[in-house]
Amino acid sequence: MLSRYRIILPVVSLAVLLAATFYMQPRAMSYFGLNLLFNLAVPIALATIAQMMIIMVNDIDLSLGAFVSLAACITATYLNDTPLLGVLILLGLVASYALMGAVIHTLDLPAIVVTLGMSFVWGGLALFILPTPGGAAPGWIRTLMTVKPALVPMAVLAAVLIALVTHLLVIRSRLGTVLRGVGGNARSIARAGWNVTVLKATAYGLAGLFGVLAGMALVGLTTSADANIALRYTLLSIAGVILGGGEFIGGKVSPVGAVIGALTLTLAASFLSFLRLSPDWQIGAQGAILILVLTARLLFSRRGAAA
């Protein structure tokens, strides 16, 4: 019952923020304007989905930003220069994420610490590959990210597509349901005959996959990479999941909400630049918007609980 309401608030907060942006800057209300507003949303949305996969099984990933940076570095170097090797390395990254999930579960390690340690590992590898900013985006990714479909800008279209695919995967499919079940009550899933280690590895593997996609998309937009390119994605992605109505424990997540949360965060940055706020306060205002939206969510859920 509550899960159906969970999606309303993210939608409303995105709509309000969008309306405010259009009010401040009517010219944004166009194909070109929207493209500009949501330009960076695609990699953030993918990273948010990745984080959601981890939060879905009651863990949290503090290494995601470093991981996306590493994926971006590999995309801008190996994938561009020697595509086959690049694909293999990226697949290896996904596999190592799955392995990380399996190890965390089998040894009963705290995910927050293991991913914390892994953030140093990913960051170090990225530095190793690209000690200084550089590299180049493979042509096809560049083309894909800058394609201009009719009517709807690429960023919006991609966001809808990501939301749709992950909704089918996480909410509708049997695999996604079991994975959410792991977050809800891992013991009963194990009792029903599932191998929870495999399931956790799957969730982490999916997170790795979306993390890699986020890195590739990011390079497609920025055309080059550096080892610190996406470090802030760790916190952005957590905020995106929560803004999207997800909860830290209990397997209660919403992929559609997560994508909307990512869009909201992206939009907040654009909105603030339209406000001509002193640069000193830009970061703080982002924090304030985050608090504001979550406060609205509180009022909303209280109302919902009373009804």
């Binding site: 049997r174 899933i189 009792r191 005959g193 209990g250 209660k252």
Partner: protein, 464 residues
């Protein structure tokens, strides 16, 4: 021996040791199709271990567990609720249904759980698409039982029910019992574990009594009397007699809240069907009497939890620290006094341990409950709030605690006691019966009878 006479499960000298602890010490037992086996015994007698052996959670340390007809389709419904709260009722069934695959798995899952619920609990009113955490505890238990009996791509041959009625009210429990009978009549087998001996007598065809990890009695139900059964479990039967303990003379009214009224030295019972607002009223009342922010020395009330893992036990701590948490005072902990207090209560309430610094989780459920009683009674709070504290507690412990409550009441303490068992409520001085979240009757003295309580629990007469 024909195919149908083969036992569903046969244990021969099955034993299970956890380190030096012999949880199960050579049990031979078989369950035939069409049989409902009542399994009784005190906490720690080895019932859960036996269930886990049959269920395949772990293997025996020695001896054998055989399934002559194959180990498939043995189901267990556990005492603690084990659904995924974030999934819907139908999704929970699908998790335990290996045959549901591919696209379009939702529709058959929904149909199957609906059919199973309708069969076991007619008029259940549970929506198959509702998320489990929007259901009441009783509804969740019903869903779990229904999943246990659902075909799930085969047909349940043996269903193990471990305290299945602990959260159900009497009407729903009766539906379950009649379903169990029908299920067995159709050739299914059930192992029925319950502390409610009335139910065991009602539904079982045979009763097995476990004590200290061995079978001490295994006879058809007709060969047992209620007193004989309690004897076999190892406790002196106290039917009726002890329960007529002198009721204390009530003092002045010291509490009026939530429509309840309690006097000094009074044992006030809260009754009615499970889930009709008693627990919520008690929790509100207790939270109102204590503070999130301050702790005065003379706290107004203490709370005894019935749902131990959720509301009571502090799992990382020793028994000692679990007893003393409510009576620590201020500043630094006086560790000598803490120890004296805990030792004192260990003796008074009979917590079975030789070392109070053992972890609380090393105790059986009943003994953990005693720790929670000790925690509350050790304080000097004039009001003790008890939220169905006898859930899953054995008969012996119950008698000990009844006596202690009476003694404390005689000293001037007031008890507010919610119980799902009418028998317990009948021992109170004053009873409030709840219906649909409101108090439907207040009974005192001679008025407190099972009939009057039932009458007030159900909407039998014209609505007032």
């Amino acid at each position: 021996m024909t195919e149908t006479d083969k036992p569903v499960v046969a244990l021969r000298d099955a034993a299970k040791h956890f380190g030096p602890v012999k949880a199960l010490d050579g049990v031979s037992l078989s369950v035939a199709p069409g049989e409902c086996l009542g399994l009784v015994g005190h906490n720690g007698a080895g019932k859960s271990t036996l269930v886990n052996l049959i269920n395949g959670t772990f293997g025996p340390s020695s001896g054998t567990v055989d399934f002559p007809g194959g180990a498939g389709d043995v189901r267990a419904v556990f005492q603690e609720l084990s659904l995924c709260p974030n999934l819907t009722v139908a999704e929970n069934l699908a998790m335990a249904h290996p045959a549901l695959k591919g696209v379009g798995w939702r529709r058959p899952a929904g149909a199957e759980i609906r059919a199973a619920l309708d069969r076991v609990f007619p008029d259940h009113g549970i929506d198959a698409d509702a998320e489990v955490d929007t259901l009441t505890i009783a509804e969740r238990q019903m869903v779990e039982i229904a999943i246990g009996f659902a075909p799930r791509g085969g047909a349940a041959r043996l269903v193990i029910l471990d305290e299945p009625t602990s959260s159900l009210d009497e009407g729903i429990a009766r539906q379950l019992l009649s379903h169990v009978k029908a299920f067995c009549a159709a050739g299914g087998a059930v192992i029925f574990i319950s502390h409610m001996l009335g139910e065991v007598f009602d539904v079982s065809s045979r009763i097995v009594v476990l004590k200290d990890g061995t079978v001490v009695a295994d006879r058809p139900v007709g060969d047992f009397t209620r007193a004989g059964l309690v004897d076999a479990m190892g406790h002196v039967a106290t039917e009726g007699a002890a329960q007529q303990a002198a009721r204390s003379a009530p003092g002045e009214v010291i509490l009026r809240a939530e429509g309840l009224e309690a006097r000094r030295g009074e044992v006030v019972g809260l009754s009615g069907l499970a889930g009709h607002g008693q627990a919520a009223a008690l929790a509100r009342l207790y939270l109102g009497l204590s503070s999130d922010w301050r702790r005065g020395r003379g706290a107004g009330a203490v709370f005894v939890a019935g749902d131990r893992p959720r509301d009571g036990v502090l799992p990382l701590w020793s028994i000692l620290r679990n007893v003393s948490i409510s009576v620590l005072g201020r500043g630094l902990v006086d560790r000598a006094a803490e120890r004296r207090l805990a030792e004192d209560w260990r003796k008074r309430i009979g917590i079975r341990t030789d070392d109070l610094t053992n972890p609380i989780l090393s105790l059986s459920g009943g003994n953990q409950q005693k720790v929670l009683f000790a925690r509350a009674l050790a304080s000097d709070a004039p009001i003790v709030v008890m939220d169905d504290p006898m859930r899953g507690v054995d008969v012996g412990t119950k008698q000990d605690v009844y006596a202690m409550i009476r003694a404390e009441a005689a000293k001037g303490r007031t008890f507010l006691w919610y119980s799902t068992e009418t028998e317990e409520v009948c021992q109170c001085d004053r009873v409030f019966v709840f219906r649909n979240g409101e108090i439907s009757a207040e009974l005192t003295g001679e008025q407190i009878t099972e009939e009057r309580i039932l009458e007030a629990s159900f909407e039998m007469q014209e609505a007032s």
